[in-house]
């Protein structure tokens, strides 16, 4: 049913949060946080998911982990055994054995580690949950994991407070890798880190991916970081995918004005390249009350009458390059 090579095939993913009112919590509307997102992930690749805050990138990634239950759509996942299952429809009991295969690295290295547990317990907990009851065995595996992420195994009896932000993020990565996952969802894994440490963690992620044949879904808002680590990039805006393309193609010629505006907004680290043109005005519309037609039209400088009336569909502009813009392929943004 799906491409035999893809590890994950997300189809029409939706997540709506109800807006309630009054004493009886009557539902008066929905926040359409994720509204029909499609993408695939090939084994061993990194897909970057970018967008401004509130665009639904985190919600989409949490649905894939089934940390929250999607409202609609399919999340087809090819298990290690080779069977294709719909993660969106599995019962919690059926999901349990698959949890080890899909792991997460969190944004905040301070909030995501239990301060009362040593590294051995923090990193070893997924092992314990997955049936490794013997403490010595767990300690061996934790030592191996710490070495893998560039920390000394002797650290395992210390508590998280003794470590810097970059080291804690390494601990978080070690914990995610404890169960030998195939897919790792990383939600803004370097945005809380300093520049010099950020580069170290990015290098570590690239190295681990090659060594362990990992597949990454890399959620971030920083385009230069996403560009550096991703094979392909998906751009989201108000719960929808607006563009998806191989990294090089996306940066060479973005096919959606929003992507182009995002790129121009990144401050160039060169004082000789200063320009203020093309700054995107306005604000991200609320996903509870999106604009008519193309969601981006109120902020788009190329908008025409058609954009206000008619919602564009996602279409392929070049091989592997899709865009949700009426004028993709016709205009240079």
């Amino acid at each position: 049913m799906s491409d035999p090579l893809s590890l994950l095939d997300v189809r029409g993913l939706q997540k709506f949060f109800p807006i309630t009112e009054g004493f009886f919590q009557r539902v008066v509307g929905h926040v359409r946080a994720v509204d029909g997102v499609d993408f695939t992930l090939q084994e061993g690749e990194t897909l970057g998911l970018v967008g401004e805050s509130g665009c639904g990138k985190t919600t989409a990634s949490r649905c894939i982990l089934r940390a929250i239950d999607p409202t609609g759509g399919q999340i087809l996942y090819r298990t290690r055994a080779g069977k294709v299952v719909d993660l969106a429809a599995l019962s919690p009991a059926d999901l349990l054995p698959l949890r080890a295969e899909i792991q997460m690295v969190f944004q905040d290295p301070f909030g995501s580690l239990n301060p009362r547990m040593t590294l051995l317990d923090n990193v070893g907990e997924p092992l314990l949950v997955n049936g490794m009851k013997n403490r010595r065995e767990r300690a061996d595996r934790v030592a191996e994991l710490l070495r893998l992420v560039g920390l000394r195994p002797e650290f395992m009896h210390r508590f998280p407070h003794a470590f810097s932000g970059g080291q804690r993020q390494r601990i978080g990565i070690a914990r995610a890798l404890a169960t030998n996952p195939r897919l790792v969802v990383a939600d803004e894994p370097v945005s809380a880190l300093d520049v010099s440490v950020q580069a170290q963690v990015l290098n570590l992620l690239l190295e681990l991916q090659q060594r362990l044949k990992l597949t990454f879904l890399f959620v971030a808002h920083d385009l230069s970081v996403v560009r550096h680590i991703s094979d392909r990039i998906a751009v989201m805006y108000v719960g929808q995918l607006v563009e998806l393309a191989p990294t090089e193609a996306l940066f060479r010629q973005p096919q959606h004005p929003y992507t182009a505006a995002l790129m121009r907004a990144v401050p160039v680290p060169d004082p000789r390249v200063r320009s203020a043109d093309g700054i995107l005005g306005g604000e991200v519309p609320s996903p509870a009350n999106p604009p008519s037609g193309c969601y981006f039209h109120p902020r788009c400088k190329y908008a025409q009458a058609r954009c206000k009336a008619e919602a564009p569909a996602l279409r392929e502009v070049a091989p592997g390059h899709v865009s949700r813009c009426h004028f993709a392929g016709e205009m240079v943004f």
């Binding site: 990194t46 401004e52 805050s53 810097s164 932000g165 970059g166 080291q167 300093d194 520049v195 010099s196 440490v197 950020q198 580069a199 170290q200 990015l202 290098n203 690239l206 190295e207 808002h221 920083d222 385009l223 230069s224 970081v225 560009r227 550096h228 680590i229 991703s230 094979d231 990294t247 090089e248 940066f251 505006a261 995002l262 790129m263 121009r264 907004a265 990144v266 401050p267 160039v268 680290p269 060169d270 004082p271 000789r272 390249v273 200063r274 203020a276 700054i279 995107l280 005005g281 604000e283 991200v284």
Partner: protein, 348 residues
């Protein structure tokens, strides 16, 4: 340009925190000048002392922190736009009338987290009106009415690009989006016509597109009012776009300073060079290892002896761990504290 007297002159500033575990020297002999109308960029990683330096300038260092030595000369505004007297902020009592006049009035702060900076139980307008009423005696005689202060606030909101300013004045900070909140914060900082604006990571908590809007706004306001700005950030991209002069800090010391073009195109200090190399760019190669600065920032209790950067420096020499290099002129316009470029050490 050269004839201008500095608006703010920080000399050998030291701030330390006496904790149970030991003494943390957060700022350890920092010196720099801010000229009138200049945008000074201060870059550094967390723990480099950039925020503590700014708190010292505003006399806001909280206990157990203390300004242990150094001078912070600030040139106050005189009448009719001429410069007034010079005061040493480091000597002023933090709660004294003079300091309270300067803080928020002549030196204003745009903090990093606008959410935490506004009170959630008062409207943003009330908070700005309060500041105006407290400081208005500086630029006008006689008492300002609440209505007039409100009109000023509405005007400020319009200046910083907040739509529907009459309504937004009565909004609470949690009703505003991140971008609007930061704009309201900028309006508050500008409300008392400061001579110096300290922007402490003003765009770190917001999205790139909003960041671009806020940076454009700050640039525009700076050109209009000619306010001097100290712009603190860890984002070298933002520095390149905003600053005219750059100070690079590491572990409480200035490593290098100079005009922005020289810092980015001819960095002298190995730390500046390494920092510039380690940023992923929108133009470089993808999916290759980035050059990194080896090692991690040392723990504040374990300051390395000598040059603070020497354990991570690729060009380290035996001398670097023995003595602290002085900040000295290097080339025509830059200053660097590195033995690769001169032999002057700080007196032991």
């Amino acid at each position: 340009m050269d004839a201008k007297l500095p608006l703010l002159s920080v000399r050998d500033l030291r701030v330390s925190f006496a904790l149970d575990e030991g003494l943390v020297r957060a700022v350890d002999g920092t010196s720099f000048d801010v000229l009138p109308g200049q945008v000074l960029g201060v870059v550094g990683e967390s723990g480099c002392g950039k925020s503590v330096t700014m708190r010292a300038i505003l006399q806001l260092v909280e206990r157990p922190g203390r300004i242990t030595s150094g001078e912070i000369h600030f040139r106050r505004a005189g009448s009719n736009g001429v410069d007034g007297e010079v005061v040493d902020i480091a000597q002023l009592p933090p709660r004294g009338a003079l300091m309270r006049d300067i803080r928020g009035g002549e030196i204003a702060l745009i903090p990093q987290e606008p959410m935490a900076a506004f009170s959630p139980v008062h409207t943003v307008g009330e908070q700005i009106i309060e500041a105006i009423l407290l400081h208005s005696h500086r630029w006008q005689k006689g008492k300002l009415g609440r209505g007039e202060a409100r009109d000023i606030t509405v005007g400020l909101f319009r200046d910083v690009g907040i739509s529907m300013p009459e309504q937004r004045v009565d909004a609470y900070s949690w009703q505003l989006s991140g971008g609007l909140r930061q704009r309201a914060m900028i309006a508050m900082a500008l409300s008392c016509k400061p001579r110096l604006l300290i922007a402490d990571e003003p765009t770190t908590a917001i999205d790139v597109t909003t960041q671009a809007q806020v940076l454009a706004l700050l640039r525009d306001l700076q050109a209009r009012y000619n306010t001097a700005i100290i712009f603190i950030t860890h984002d070298l991209g933002v520095i390149a776009q905003m600053a005219s002069y750059v100070v690079v800090m590491y572990l409480g010391r200035v490593m290098e300073e100079g005009p922005v073009d020289d810092i980015f195109h001819a960095p002298k200090h190995p730390y500046t060079q390494a920092l510039l190399r380690s940023i992923p760019s929108l133009y470089g190669k993808t999916r290759v290892a980035l050059p990194v600065i080896s090692g991690a920032l040392p723990h504040p209790f374990n300051r390395p002896p000598g040059c603070p950067f020497h354990p991570r420096c690729p060009q380290v020499m035996p001398r670097c761990s023995a003595a602290v290099p002085k900040l000295m002129p290097v080339g025509e316009r830059q200053l660097a504290s590195c033995f690769l470029h001169h032999d002057e050490a700080e007196p032991a």
